[in-house]
Symmetry: C2
Subunit: 343 residues, 2 copies
């Protein structure tokens, strides 16, 4: 199995990305990694560790300052565009990993790879930790589609259900709709229209969830439009980091004491628990091939996890599961509710 | 000045509500409080402390299980409806405080009190703490209007700007639009349409803010539709409480040691810093008279703060400021952009 990795995407590229690839290769013996980016620099970092590694030279880099659509169209010799070209043109390349610009990764996936038949809008689906031990929750969509119709949310629901089932091993993950109240009649027009349709899908839909209960660990998948999902994801990040700062300030008051030192130690354990990145990356669900965006600050450990995540999703047949659910959904809802949303 | 308080709204009613009123009266000598609810029970709690307190008997209570519109229309002898009637019918009653059902308070405010001329949609505007010392941020709207047009967001912006200016004493509070990116071109259709109009308002509009920066303390007011605002507010609550649980779990591992005990002590200080309630309640901006909803779990201290907040808003002429800004806004944008949104 071959996975292509954008070696020059992200804040810690290329060193951490290349080292992450080496770690993934050590973990998985049937894996080959294709690294895209400045060949000379990548070779230097690899420093002779070339088993099951291929390098495809790319002189350019897409940054967060680039406009995604322009960058994908014009920076043809960038590490990301080269990676997408490899993914598109080679049957044996099964997935792509990038820690680069989210917008560019999403744009590249749509322009170069395209959608699974029947899926109107691919969606970004990151994982969050919960207060329950070893229990996570997936949020779909988190920013790829900021204006949604109910048909889109139905697709997000089946895609994320299939994804969650693979990652957690549960047969029927609990899927909930993000809403401003728990009762069925609550919500904006989009939620009110989507709720009854979600009940008809071949998934385990458990009703509405409020944003305050996202981290409760009671549900496995949260479906929402990309705007609200983005607000949710980023406020979780923001509060976690804000509280971290406050905790550190408190701890510093005792920094010369044993208490301060011990508090900081304890806090590191807590921070690890809250660290979203350790779960790997966020897949762009609904693309013809696996595309996983990992955090811009990803270190080698996160890159390794993300590459292994792509391998797992491929081996578990994520896209086949999604295709099969789309067919079942069409049967459940009737052609008119699912066919119209394409494009 | 008279303020009416729904003595039977909230989880800790009536004891904490009545005691909160007594605390507020002790702080402010020109204040009279009208308490609505079971007269006998209120008198028992007051236990002779009757100076500047009036009681209006109400036998019924509206709970969170009631449907707001039905409850306001049918439970005419409830503490909340009696409070709204008093606010409506008496010129000397300047504001209302309730810790009861948010939906019922909003519905009562609209049905019984009505809107300030020129304001299309009143909006709920709670205060959040930030990482900067003594710096807060206001979010408008947080759930009163889940489907919004850009005109509504413009009204939220001027109302919350006026409110923030009174609460913080700043002449020109920084107002930002909640969005999924910092750049002007970012956002869903609503944000893209609203951004250029916000620039024309007679307020200090500073651009987009992402949800992760809400607690940064860099802006004073965040404008958003009520659905996204609700997601933001509740996820902040959820993560703060989720992290609290994790911190407590960590601390418990050392519960018999000095460290554990000291950590819990430190943490209480931190929790106080994160406690949204200490700032009082969330006003329902844009009503003809002041209506402030405080948290269902409010204790006497929070009730006291909320009553004093209403007094401050009245004395500072919040509604007059809003009316004047609406007029200026109409001039800035032209009649067609502001007149059409009424209703």
């Amino acid at each position: 199995m071959k996975i292509v990795v954008d070696a020059f995407g992200g804040d810690n590229a290329p060193v951490e990305v290349v080292e992450g690839a080496v770690l993934a290769l050590a973990k998985k013996k049937d894996l080959t990694v294709v690294l895209t980016g400045d060949q000379k620099r990548i070779s230097e970092i690899l420093n002779g560790r070339t088993e099951r590694v291929e390098i495809v030279d790319a002189k350019d880099v897409i940054t967060n300052d680039d406009t995604p659509t322009l960058a994908i169209r014009q920076k043809k010799d960038s590490s990301l565009v080269r990676a997408f070209d490899l993914l598109k043109e080679n049957d044996d390349v099964v997935g792509l990993v990038s820690a680069g610009s989210t917008g560019a990764v999403l744009t590249g996936a749509i322009l170069k790879i395209g959608r699974i038949k029947g899926i109107s809008r691919p969606a970004l689906c990151p994982i969050l930790p919960t207060v329950k031990k070893d229990k996570t929750v997936m949020i779909c969509d988190c920013g790829a589609n900021v204006d949604c119709k109910s048909e889109h949310l139905l697709h997000f629901a089946i895609m994320a259900s299939a994804y969650s089932s693979i990652m957690s091993g549960q047969e029927s993950p609990k899927v909930a709709l993000l809403n401003n109240g728990a009762e069925e009649h609550k919500g904006n027009e989009l939620c009110k229209e989507t709720f009854p349709l979600l009940k008809k899908l071949p998934i385990n839909f458990v009703g509405n969830v409020e944003a305050r209960d996202v981290m409760s660990g009671d549900v496995d998948v949260i479906v929402t439009d990309g705007f609200a999902g983005n607000v949710l994801l980023k406020s979780v990040e923001g509060v976690a980091s804000g509280m971290s700062k406050l905790i550190k300030q408190e701890a510093k008051k005792n920094v010369f004491s044993m208490l301060g030192a011990l508090m900081m130690g304890r806090f590191k354990g807590l921070k690890a628990k809250m660290d979203i990145n350790k779960y790997g990356g966020a897949p762009f669900l609904g693309c013809k091939k696996l595309v996983v965006k990992t955090h811009g600050t990803a270190n080698r450990e996160v890159i390794k996890n993300t590459i292994l995540q792509v391998a797992k999703l491929y081996e578990s047949g994520l896209n086949e599961k999604i295709e099969s659910l789309v067919l079942k959904m069409t049967e459940s809802l009737g052609e008119e509710k699912t066919g119209g949303a394409n494009g």
